[in-house]
């Protein structure tokens, strides 16, 4: 540890002198000693307000003021040793031997290895941390214009796999921490903001056929101070039943005691566009191939569809027009974002106020997302032993939605699938729907679909210091989230056309969570060697979810859109609630800052399970050894630090299953002749219980070259038993499935994180951070395979997200027919020949972030993320590669021009025909390698020099330009390898079906603080 302390002779200012005089005068009897000094940054010499100065061996501690100065009145006599702590700096010890003004210089901690990390219900020293926790550097994700925080995590933390589902702003993404542990229960991590569980359940009740709204978009990324991702059992077990999928801890910005109030203003503008679009055939090409299909199918040339109009045909191929539909729905979409915040504090109270306006349009019309948010964080030292505080987050979101994803009445399907020779308008000027799909112009102009979200998250806490080291914290939270969806499909739309004459739905969905929590913490250090930290607490949570919705059809004219005006109205409402009661504790013991042991235990009871199975117990333990502190390691002179970690424990899962999954239920509303009847809807399973995941983790952290290079490595293995499964049962029972605990699953992987400060010169510095992760998922046991729509299968002995198709060996050069792999050699292509040919899991994934600082004031960031070895089922190509069997209904892509035409042709696109296996059997040629490397963010910023800032009385002014998704290297033939049509099914990954690509965005912004 570096200690830097020196004496500076300086005369105290007059007011200070006066104050000190009064102090001395009033306490003269007690022989008190007044000590004064200042805390500064070692390099910049700037003062550090809000640093905590503690006199060792006493309870006395003060906080530095605006100018970084402190004053201590103490009965103790010199020499005294101070211990000074300040966030982002190493803890300093300095000994003052002589009376006088004392300056203490602080050394910043390296960027990557913060000294304190936030863990479940507390903080721990990074150096002695036994568990696996990744911290995300928030400053690295500031320049990316994303509505929600989960999208920003991409490539930033080892073990975190993300995939965007659609380019619609504010819609959900696929995110997994260390693989997937469940089939029917949730695989999403637990999100905790400032210690409060945040609902991550989408409130969307009215389907748009694809994307689902993302509740995390309610959180303004600019309010976030830090993000920690808890991964191993030692870190997550304290969250027990909710920790199996990892925990993402988000800490929002708070004010600092004794600091001058600061105002921060940020603005950016971005412009987004689709970097790549599909290439359907032109009208003449489409016609040519349709004629060829006709002939190939043995039908007479004379009656081919595209023959001269005089012969009753549709005209010759070359006479066909080409209508560009994709150009109609895609746009260059703007983003605006304004953040204004202020923070500060006096001796007892600190505050943070933040406001945000975010407005982003989608590259596919007409979707858009707006957010207005306000956050207030206040902390106040009420009495010496009592601290209170509150966090309030009030958010309104406005979404314009549309059936944009894979639905026939959506804009993308209408624009992509309709063959290009077909007209957009009928002769009478009305919208033409010549194929199955909605007219793209109608889809974006005639549909009105809004979703207004209101979110209020409030938390109040009180913290009581009972005795030295023993604290009680009680906290009470409300998370209220409401969404009001209104849509209107007027009579010009596919859905609202006659005889419907307009259809409107209005729905209100409300999710209310109440949480109460008590936390007792006790910290004690004995003889400076044995450090104990004991935490115990309980949580009670009650959640309710209500939906009320009403639909009206039959509007007098398109001028009426309120349901009151409709002819026929139908309504529905439902509600559900669940409760969770938990007790938890953790004991952390550190010996001599070298060895540490954690023991965690949590007990949870959930109302979702059978009466005898409501309680689940989740223990975990971890140990670490800071070998770098051992003399024999120090003697090696290689490591500046070295630590080994190991942990093992179990966590549970109950999220994602229905609230009454264990009960035998009958439903009402089964009408016949307008009388409501009852019918069984769910078979009872009183044995339903927790899904349990056991996880072992071994890790090492090493630092080299005076902490300039840090390497972290983890190996983990997770094994999940009692999988919560919607288990298919014999339909002959009258039910198709039951919620049961059946099956086992494992995830195993390695994570490597390297961060290095490659150059640290005055005019040039270069920091690089690379992370590489693997995860091998395997369904260890599953009673029966589950076949999902199309090509996805869940089967024992294979990973989740496996693709199950007939293998195409090639195209017979003689006949032009697809050659399929005949597994059972029966000469026929049957179900028995289906094979698992790949899965959507990447072999390697992660990110590479480079940060440069040039000439002190220019910062450059280049951040890549990558995924290697994952497969994608390109269903868009499959649908459009129908080879003639869906002529006139589904357009074909340009690649269809490579079809087999005559004997001897070598190609993988078979002969065009509407009959036979070429059209009927799904071939593996649409299963593709989805590997990619993407330049996620390239940004250049310029900060105005300090001298100018001082003149303007400002602290920072930074302007920047950035480019998002500038470059993608991939062999994938679709428009974007980062794709997934989830349709709300979490067991689907890597399934591309008419999903628009992630936008390429250029952005300019400015940040000012004063």
């Amino acid at each position: 540890m570096n200690i830097s302390a020196k004496r500076v002779t300086q005369y105290p200012s007059t007011p200070f002198f006066l104050a000190a005089f009064l102090f001395v005068a009033s306490y003269a009897v007690a022989q008190n000693n007044t000590l004064r000094g200042k805390v500064i940054d070692e390099k910049t010499k700037s003062s550090l307000p809000g640093a905590t100065v503690h006199i060792k061996g006493s309870t006395h501690e003060v906080v530095t003021n605006d100018n970084g100065e402190f004053t201590i009145v103490t009965a103790q006599h010199l020499p005294l040793t101070y211990s000074v702590t300040y966030v982002g700096y190493q803890t300093m010890e300095a000994t003052q031997t002589d009376q006088g003004y004392f300056t203490i210089s602080m050394i910043p901690t390296s960027n990557e290895l913060k000294d304190v990390v936030v863990v479940g219900y507390g903080t721990q020293s990074r150096k002695n941390l036994a568990s696996s926790v990744s911290s995300v550097n928030v400053s690295q994700i500031e320049d990316i214009p994303s509505a929600s925080i989960d999208q920003l995590l991409q490539g930033k933390a080892p073990g975190v796999l993300t995939s965007a589902n659609s380019p619609v702003p504010g819609s959900g993404i696929f995110l997994r921490v260390r693989g997937s542990t469940s089939i029917n229960a949730s695989n999403d991590p637990l999100y905790v903001v400032d210690g409060v569980f945040i609902n991550n359940r989408s409130l969307q009740s009215v389907s748009t056929g694809g994307q689902v709204t993302d509740p995390l978009a309610d959180l303004n990324p600019a309010d976030i101070e830090s993000i920690e991702i808890l991964k191993d059992a030692d870190a997550t077990a304290i969250y027990g039943s909710r920790g199996a999928n990892g925990v993402i801890l988000i800490t929002t910005k708070h004010g600092r005691l004794n600091s001058k109030s600061k105002v921060n203003i940020g603005y950016y503008y971005g412009s987004s566009k689709a970097p790549k679009l599909w290439t359907p055939l032109s009208g003449p090409e489409e016609a040519l191939l349709q004629n060829e299909t006709w002939i190939n199918d043995g039908k007479p040339y004379a009656t081919r569809p595209f023959r001269p109009k005089s012969e009753g045909g549709l005209g010759l191929p070359e006479e066909q027009p080409t209508y560009d539909r994709l150009g109609i729905i895609f746009q260059r979409a703007p983003t605006h974002n304004i953040d204004i915040s202020t923070n500060g504090g006096d001796a007892k109270t600190s505050f943070y106020l933040g406001g945000n306006y975010f407005d982003q349009e989608s590259i596919v019309k007409p979707d858009a997302f707006k957010r207005y948010s306000l956050r207030v964080n206040v902390d106040h030292q009420l009495r010496e032993a009592i601290k209170i505080g509150a966090s309030i987050d009030a958010v309104k979101t406005d979404r314009i939605k549309s059936p944009n994803n894979n639905v026939p009445y959506g804009a993308v399907n209408g624009a992509l699938y309709t063959p290009s020779y077909l007209p957009l308008f009928n002769a009478d000027g009305s919208y033409a729907r010549p194929s199955l799909f909605e007219n793209p112009i109608a889809a974006i102009k005639e549909v009105h679909f809004t979703d207004i979200g209101t979110r209020f998250t409030g938390n109040v806490y009180g913290e009581f210091a009972i005795t030295k080291g023993l604290k009680l914290r009680t906290s009470w939270s409300i998370d209220f989230n409401e969404s009001k969806e209104d849509n209107f499909f007027n009579s010009k739309t596919y859905i609202g056309q006659a005889p419907t004459n307009g259809s409107a739905t209005s729905a209100i969905t409300r999710n209310l969570t109440l949480i109460n929590e008590q936390l007792l913490t006790y910290n004690k250090t004995i003889n400076g060697i044995h450090a104990f930290a004991i935490t115990a607490g309980n949580t009670v949570q009650k959640e309710s979810f209500d939906v009320t919705s009403v639909t009206g059809i039959g509007f007098p004219t398109d001028g009426f859109s309120q349901i009151t005006s409709s002819a026929i109205q139908t309504g529905t409402s439902s509600s559900s609630d669940a409760g969770l009661v938990s007790y938890f504790s953790r004991v952390n013991y550190v010996y001599n800052k070298k060895y540490s042991v954690d023991v965690n235990l949590r007990a949870d009871a959930s109302s979702r399970f059978g009466k005898d199975h409501q309680w689940g117990y989740f223990p975990a333990a971890g140990i670490s050894w800071r070998a770098g502190q051992e003399d024999f390691v120090k003697a090696l002179n290689i490591f500046s630090d070295l630590k080994f970690r190991a942990s093992y424990g179990s966590t549970g899962n109950q999220n994602g299953i229905p609230d009454f999954a264990s009960k035998g239920l009958w439903s009402g509303g089964n009408t016949y002749q307008d009388v409501s009847g009852i019918a069984p809807i769910q078979m009872a399973n009183p044995d339903l219980k927790w899904e349990t995941t056991r996880q072992a983790d071994f890790g090492a952290d090493a630092a080299f070259f005076s902490n300039r290079v840090n390497i972290g490595f983890d190996y983990y293995r997770k094994y999940t038993t009692n999988l919560l499964l919607q288990l298919p049962v014999s339909s002959q029972l009258g039910y198709t499935s039951i919620f049961a605990n059946a099956g086992e699953m494992s995830n195993e992987g390695y994570e490597l994180n390297i961060s290095a400060n490659l150059f640290q010169k005055e005019k040039f510095s270069w920091n690089v951070n690379l992370n590489i992760s693997t995860n091998k998922n395997l369904i260890e046991k599953l009673p029966t395979p589950i076949i999902k729509t199309g090509v996805i299968i869940l089967q024992q002995g294979h990973p989740l997200y496996s693709f199950y198709v007939h293998k195409q060996l090639g195209v017979d050069p003689q006949t032009g027919d697809v050659l399929f792999d005949d597994l059972n050699k029966d000469g026929k292509v049957t179900d028995a020949d289906l094979q698992i040919l790949g899965n959507a899991w990447p072999k390697w994934f992660g990110g590479l972030t480079n940060n440069f600082i040039l000439f002190k004031n220019v910062d450059v960031q280049a951040a890549f993320n990558y995924s290697i070895g994952n497969d994608i089922w390109d269903n868009t190509r499959y649908r459009m590669g129908h080879g003639g069997s869906r002529n006139g209904v589904f357009a074909m892509l340009k690649e269809e021009l490579n079809r087999w035409q005559k004997p001897g042709d070598i190609t993988d696109v078979p002969r065009l025909t509407a009959s036979g296996n070429n059209a009927a059997i799904i071939p593996s040629r649409f299963l593709e390698d989805g590997s990619y490397v993407r330049l996620r963010n390239l940004s250049v910023g310029y900060s105005l020099p300090k001298s100018i800032m001082a003149k303007w009385k400002m602290s920072t002014v930074r302007v920047y330009l950035s480019a998002i998704n500038l470059l993608t290297i991939t062999r994938y033939k679709g428009v974007d390898p980062e794709v997934n049509v989830s349709n709300g099914d979490q067991n689907v990954l890597g399934y591309d079906q008419a999903i628009a690509p992630q936008p390429r965005t250029f952005q300019a912004g400015v940040n000012v603080s004063f």
Partner: protein
């Protein structure tokens, strides 16, 4: 010490609330133990059984979808390969429509089983014996109808006659030979016939529907005398059942005097059958069905189709199918039993008994109503049978009869050009075989 109180109070508040937090009750559903317990819930369960029969995965759409595509009256022009499998008689065991129909039928039988088992146990004085009989009788009829559809489509289907209580009930489920299934149906229909009152209700089961279904059952079982007898019982009740004229009248209005049992649909319970027939913008459908060319030609032939040419219409150069589903309200009824079928059953039963003249006269009743000239004479039984079969093809065109008529008369392979005899039965859904190892797949799948 104030602090201690704060702690104690907050912890005790929390502990008291714990029990309540964990004891949640669904407001949306009721527990199965409370399902059929009194008069109102028994009535509601029966409504639920009709709802199950009417669901889109059964009578609403899938049953009619599959049986029509398997026939030679309709060809498939749609876009989802799984649907095409029926048109080309190459149905995979993984076909999702096969699975959904199978599940929907057994869902209906499970409600019927619940009603049959639980009604005698109800302790409610307001539920009198007559009503108990009627409700049980309706459940017997529905169960018979379900098993009739099952055995016709799949052959060796498992019989489940007890309500499901828990997953363990699945362990004894295994295939039954068709003969056993037919016996089971006959027994249920006997019970239905004896329990049900003779009150006409064309949307629910009563003694007439039980008799009409018996007529059809005996026709399939080649019990000609009984088939004739039951058909006659309906035909002779001319006060309640009369053919309507013109032909299109029977479907353009709900519950005509010709109807014996039609599954009704309302705004609150719609079917999606119409979407198979028409393409946008005619009515907002998927256009997967078109009448076959030879069927269209027959309908247009005044000596064959007659006024039944109303079953097609022309728009934009394309000939579409036409019936009550033409205006896609979703409220169009699905016909299960009607008087015309009774005449044709009796015609066939009489022909088989070599009473050709009587058979011919029944046939001519139907021809007459369709404005087709009567047939004056036939030489042989086979000739008459062929004529009756053709008449059935025309008269009951979209009502799920053709496929089964061809199979029970042994003509399916020849007429439809199916080389593999195994394809005359659908595959048992693959998922069912995977789940239950006692279940055997039909040969050829």
């Amino acid at each position: 010490m104030k602090l201690v109180y704060v702690i104690l109070i907050s912890i005790s508040v929390v502990l008291i609330s714990c029990k309540k937090v964990l004891d949640t009750q669904s407001q949306l559903y009721i527990d199965q133990s409370q399902s059929i317990v009194d008069k109102r819930s028994a009535q509601a369960a029966l409504v639920g059984a009709y709802n199950a029969l009417s669901q889109n995965t059964y009578q609403g759409n899938t049953f009619r979808y599959i049986t029509n595509l398997l026939s030679d009256n309709i060809k498939w022009v749609g876009n989802t390969p799984t649907n095409r499998e029926f048109d080309v008689y190459a149905v995979f065991a993984t076909n999702s429509r096969v699975q959904e129909l199978w599940s929907a039928i057994y869902k209906t039988t499970n409600i019927a089983n619940n009603i049959i088992e639980k009604i005698p146990l109800i302790n409610d004085v307001t539920l009198d014996q007559a009503e108990r009989n009627r409700e049980k009788g309706e459940a017997f009829f529905l169960r018979a109808l379900c098993y009739f559809d099952l055995v016709r489509l799949w052959g060796n289907v498992p019989i489940v006659s007890k309500p499901t209580e828990s997953p363990i009930d699945a362990k004894d489920i295994r295939n039954s030979p068709p003969s056993e299934v037919y016996q089971f149906i006959e027994k249920d229909l006997d019970s239905a016939e004896s329990l049900l009152p003779s009150i006409v209700d064309r949307n629910r089961a009563n003694q007439y529907t039980a008799k009409a279904l018996k007529a059809r059952l005996y026709l399939y079982e080649k019990n000609w005398t009984k088939a004739e007898d039951y058909a006659t019982q309906i035909i002779n009740d001319s006060a309640d059942f009369k053919l309507v004229k013109p032909y299109s009248q029977f479907y353009s209005v709900k519950n005509t005097s010709e109807s014996i049992f039609e599954v009704d649909y309302t705004i609150n319970n719609k079917n999606v059958y119409a979407t198979n027939w028409f393409q946008n913008p005619t009515t907002g459908g998927k256009k997967e069905f078109l009448p076959t060319d030879d069927f269209v030609a027959l309908l247009k032939d005044p000596n064959v189709g007659g006024s039944r040419s109303a079953l097609i219409f022309n728009a934009g150069g394309v000939t579409y199918g036409n019936m009550n589903f033409h205006i896609a309200t979703g409220e169009d009824q699905s016909y299960v039993l009607r008087l015309a079928e009774m005449y044709l059953i009796r015609a066939e039963a009489r022909a088989r008994q070599n009473r050709l003249a009587e058979g011919l006269s029944d046939l001519n009743v139907i021809r007459d109503r369709a404005n087709v000239p009567p047939i004056t004479a036939v030489g042989t039984t086979d000739e008459l049978i062929d004529k009756i079969l053709l008449e059935r093809r025309m008269e009951l065109a979209y009502e799920s009869h053709r496929w089964f008529d061809l199979i029970r008369t042994g003509k399916a392979q020849e007429v439809l050009g199916i080389t593999d005899v195994n394809k005359l039965l659908l595959p048992i859904p693959r998922q069912e075989i995977l789940i239950n190892s006692n279940l055997t797949q039909n040969p050829g799948y």
